[in-house]
C-alpha cells in the first residue's frame, strides 16, 4: 500500500513549549490511522500543520510521495485534505447547504446555486450513508448530525484525507457507533482517515494502526491486535496507569440527599423531569445512567439551585432545599462539578486563584469585613495547585489558558477541598485523558470513603459501572430502575436506558 500522506521530522516551537519534536507520521490509502495522546501531547498541533493553519519550524510533508508546502487551509483543501475540528466550524444561523458551500460556492445565473449544492449534498450523503437534511439550519440539529455536516463539507471539497480531531468527545454512545459506521463506509470507498483521540477503547475498536504521541514526540506505532488498553495507556502517559477503579465495597450510613416526586420543566417549558424520587446515603456513590436528553441536566440544575422545580421536595441533611438558591445549598454542604466546565464551572477570564475560591471568597479567611484577603487566597491557591497537580506556571494565569484537563482539575480542587456532605458530579471526566480520569476517579472514591454522599451523572457507561455503588437508570424524565452496580451488566443497563420493558405514559 502507498502512503497518501507522509510527514518527516516535523518540529514546531511555541513560546516556552516544544509542541512537535521531529515527528514522523504516515497514512496509507483507505486506512484509519489513530493518533493517540494525552491533552497537550502535540496531536492537534501536528494536525493544524497538516491543515495549513500553522507553519512548521522544520520538517517536510509529502502527498503521494510529492513534497508539498501548506501555507493556509486553502492549500490543504486543494490537495484533498479535509479537517473536522473538535469545535465545529459551522455557522449556526446558516442552513446545512450554506455551511457546506461556504468558501467554495457554486454560482448559477449570478446567484448562489442553493438548489444545485443541496442536490449534491444529498447525493454525497446517500453515497456515504451520512443522513442529513440540506435545508435545515445548523442550530436546529443535534451535535451528531452537525458532525456529519462537517464530514460532508470536506467530501464536497473532494477530500481524500480526512482528519477527525477528537470526534467522539461531544457524542453520545449511539452517535459514536454511528460515526464508526460512517468511518468504515468512507474508508471502504477509498478515503483515508486520521483519527485523533485519547480514548483507548475507541482506537482499539476502529483503528487499523495506532501512533502514540507524548510530550511532542512519537512514542511508537502499533496495530490493535498487538496491543491492549493498559499497554496503550502506559505509552501515552509514560507510566503504568490503573484503568479500573480500585475501591472497597461501600459502607453507606445515613441519608444525605432525599428527592421526592420532583417535577422540572426544561428550557422550552416541557416537563423534563417527571416525578423523580431517590436518595443518596453517606458513603455511597449513586450513579445516574441514561441517554442524553432524558432529563439529567434539568434534574441536576434543580438539585443545585440553578433551576426552579414545579413540584416535589429536595431534602439535604434534613433541610428542605427545594427551590432554594445555590448559595444556601452550598453552605449546607453541597459540592457541584457541573457538566459544562467552561460555562458553569469557571469564570474563564479570572485567574486560577480566584476560581479556586469562587464559592468561599466571602468567608474567612478569604474575605474579612468586605475586604478580600489576597495573602490567604494566594497560600490556599498554591496549596491546591500542588495537591491537585494543576499544571500552570502561576496561580494568576487566566484560567482560559489552561488545557481542558487542567481546567477540570481547578473545579475538582475547588469542590473537593471544602468540607461537604454531598458531591454532585455531572460528567466529571468528559473530554479528559486517561491520566486525568484516573486521578479524578480516585478523588471521587476517596470522597466517598470519607463519608460523603456522591451523586454521579455520566453518559459513559464504563464510568458509571466502575464508580457507582448503585445505578439509577433515567429514561424520559423518570427513574425506571435502581440496580446494584455489581449485580448488573452493561447490556442490561443499555437495554433499560433505551426504555426496554418500560411503559411510559405521556
Amino acid at each position: 500500500m502507498t502512503n497518501v500522506l507522509e510527514v518527516k521530522g516535523i518540529t514546531k516551537h511555541f513560546p516556552g513549549v516544544l509542541a512537535n519534536d521531529h515527528v514522523d507520521f504516515d497514512l496509507k490509502k483507505g486506512e484509519i490511522h489513530a493518533l493517540l495522546g494525552e491533552n497537550g501531547a502535540g496531536k492537534t498541533t501536528l494536525m493544524n500543520i497538516l491543515y495549513g493553519l500553522y507553519k512548521p519550524d522544520s520538517g517536510e510533508i509529502f502527498k503521494n510521495g510529492e513534497p508539498v508546502v501548506l501555507n493556509s487551509p486553502k492549500d490543504a483543501i486543494a490537495i484533498g485534505i479535509g479537517m473536522v475540528h473538535q469545535h465545529f466550524m459551522l455557522i449556526p444561523v446558516f442552513t446545512v447547504t450554506e455551511n457546506i458551500m461556504l468558501g467554495d460556492e457554486s454560482i448559477k445565473n449570478g446567484v448562489l446555486d442553493r438548489r444545485g449544492v443541496s442536490a449534491k449534498v444529498l447525493e454525497l450523503s446517500q453515497k456515504y450513508g451520512l443522513e442529513i437534511d440540506p435545508e435545515v439550519h445548523v442550530e436546529d440539529i443535534p451535535v451528531g448530525v452537525q458532525q456529519r455536516v462537517e464530514i460532508v463539507k470536506t467530501l464536497y471539497r473532494r477530500a481524500e484525507i480526512l482528519i477527525l480531531d477528537e470526534p467522539t468527545a461531544v457524542l453520545t454512545p449511539q452517535e459514536v457507533d454511528d460515526l464508526f459506521r460512517i468511518m468504515r463506509e468512507l474508508t471502504s470507498q477509498g478515503v483515508s482517515i486520521i483519527f485523533i483521540t485519547h480514548k483507548l477503547k475507541e482506537v482499539l475498536a476502529i483503528a487499523d494502526r495506532i501512533t502514540v504521541m507524548r510530550a511532542g514526540q512519537v512514542v511508537g506505532t502499533v496495530t490493535p491486535n498487538e496491543t491492549d488498553e493498559p499497554h496503550l495507556a502506559a505509552m501515552m502517559v509514560g507510566r503504568e496507569v490503573i484503568l479500573n477503579v480500585e475501591k472497597e465495597p461501600a459502607k453507606p450510613t445515613e441519608e444525605i440527599l432525599t428527592v421526592n416526586d420532583l417535577h422540572v420543566l426544561d428550557q422550552r417549558g416541557l416537563e423534563a423531569v417527571r416525578g423523580v424520587s431517590f436518595s443518596v446515603r453517606a458513603g455511597e456513590i449513586l450513579g445516574i445512567a441514561g441517554v442524553q436528553g432524558n432529563g439529567q441536566p434539568e434534574l441536576v440544575e434543580s438539585l443545585t439551585g440553578l433551576r426552579q422545580s414545579m413540584s416535589g421536595h429536595v431534602t439535604l441533611m434534613g433541610n428542605d432545599v427545594t427551590n432554594r438558591p445555590p448559595r444556601p445549598i452550598i453552605e449546607i454542604g453541597m459540592s457541584h462539578i457541573p457538566e459544562d466546565r467552561q460555562r458553569h464551572g469557571l469564570v474563564l477570564s479570572y485567574p486560577i486563584a480566584d476560581n479556586l475560591v469562587l464559592c468561599t471568597y466571602y468567608l474567612p479567611p478569604f474575605g474579612v469585613k468586605f475586604v478580600i484577603q489576597n495573602k490567604a487566597i494566594d497560600e490556599y491557591a498554591r496549596k491546591l495547585i500542588t495537591d491537585f497537580d494543576i499544571r500552570t506556571p502561576s496561580p494568576y494565569m487566566p484560567t482560559s489558558n489552561l488545557s481542558g484537563g487542567n481546567q477540570q482539575k481547578v473545579i475538582v480542587a475547588r469542590e473537593l477541598s471544602r468540607s461537604v456532605r454531598l458531591l454532585i458530579a455531572n460528567q466529571p471526566t468528559r473530554g479528559l485523558d486517561v491520566g486525568s480520569i484516573e486521578y479524578i476517579h480516585k478523588q471521587i472514591v476517596s470522597m466517598r470513603d470519607k463519608g460523603v454522599a456522591v451523586l454521579l451523572i455520566s453518559a459513559e457507561l464504563d464510568e458509571i459501572m466502575s464508580l457507582a455503588d448503585r445505578i439509577a437508570v433515567m429514561y424520559q424524565g423518570k427513574i425506571v430502575d435502581v440496580l446494584d452496580a455489581d449485580k448488573t451488566t452493561k447490556s442490561e443497563l443499555g437495554l433499560k436506558m433505551a426504555g426496554a420493558g418500560v411503559s411510559v405514559t405521556p
Binding site: 466550524m89 461556504l102 468558501g103
Partner: protein, 356 residues
Amino acid sequence: MEFKRFAFIALIIIVLIGVVVVVGKSEVAPSVIIVSMIATTISVATPLTLGALTGVFCERAGVVNIGIEGMMLASAFFGWFAAIYMNTILEMGALPSLIVGVIAAVVTGGLLGLLHAVLSVTFKVDQIIGGTVINLMAVGISGFLNRQLFFEKQSIFGGQVPHAPGVLPRIHIPFLADIPVVGTIFDQQPITIAAILLVFITHYVLFYTRWGLRTRSVGEHPLAADTVGINVYWMRYMNVIIGGLIAGLAGAYFTLESVPSFEPLMTNGRGFIALAAMIFGNWSPFGSWAAALVFGAAQALQINLQFFRELIPPQWAFLQSSAVVGMVPYVLTMLIMTGIIGKTRAPAADGTPYEK
C-alpha cells in the same frame, strides 16, 4: 415574528399620518395630506435608510460602526465644499458641480470607512472607541474648515459664503409620477431614489451572492470562515469601506439634496437613529428601511404640522410647540430600543476583533 415587526411599523406610521389628517382635514383633503405625508416620509427617511444600510454592511461583517453620524457629517461638509468649489471657482455649472459634490461626499465616506477598518480590523481598537473617534473628528474637522474656508477673509471664497449650486433636481419617474394624486409620492430626488434601490441591492447582495454569504460568515463565526479559506480581514475591510461609501451618500443628502447649505452639527443625531433603525430592523435591509420610515414619518409629522399650526385644537396645544413634536423621533427611538416587540439578533461575532 417578522410579520409582527412590520405590522407594528405600519401601525406607527399610520398613527403619525393620522394625527396630521385629523388636524388638517378642515382645510385640506385627507387624500392630499396622506400623499404629502408619505412623500415627505420617504424623502426625509433617506439619510436614515442609508445610514442603516451602512450599519448592515459593517455589522453583518462583524464590525460595529457607531461612527455613521460622523461619516455623514464629514461627507456632508466635503460634498458641499466640492460642489461650491466647482460651481464658483471652476464655474462648472450647477448640475455638474452637484454631481462632483456627491462623488466627493461618497469618497469622504469611503475614506472614513477605511479609517474605521484600519482601527478596528488591523489594530483591533475597541470598535465603540474607534467609532467615537470618527464622530468627534468629523465634528471638529467640519466645524473648523467651515469657519476657515467660508468665514475667513483670506480664504479662497474671500470671507463670504458663495452661492450654492442649489439642490439635486427631482427625477420625474415616467408613468408612476403621472398618476393623479398618488403620483407626488414618486416625484423624488436622486439620492432618495438611490437609497431605495440600495435597499433592494443590499438584500440581493447579502442573501443571494457569494459576497453576501462570505460577509455574513465573517460576522457570525470568523474562525469557521477562515478554515474554509475566506480572508476574514479582507472581507471586513471591504464591507466597512462599502458601508462608508453609503454613509457618504447619506452625507450628500444633507447638503446637496435636502438644503443647499452646511451648518455645523447638521446631521443632528441622524447617524445614531439610523443605527437604531438597523437594530430594530434586525440587521436586515428591508427591516432597516421600514424602521427608517417610522423615524421619517415622525419627522414628516413635524414638517407637515407646521402648515396647520392654527388648526391645532387647544387641548392639543403641546403639538404647537415644534420642540415637542421635534422630540418624537428620539422618543420613538428610545421606545423601540427597549424591545417592545420581540428580540432582535445581532450577528454572533459583531464587535469582536478576529485574532488569528
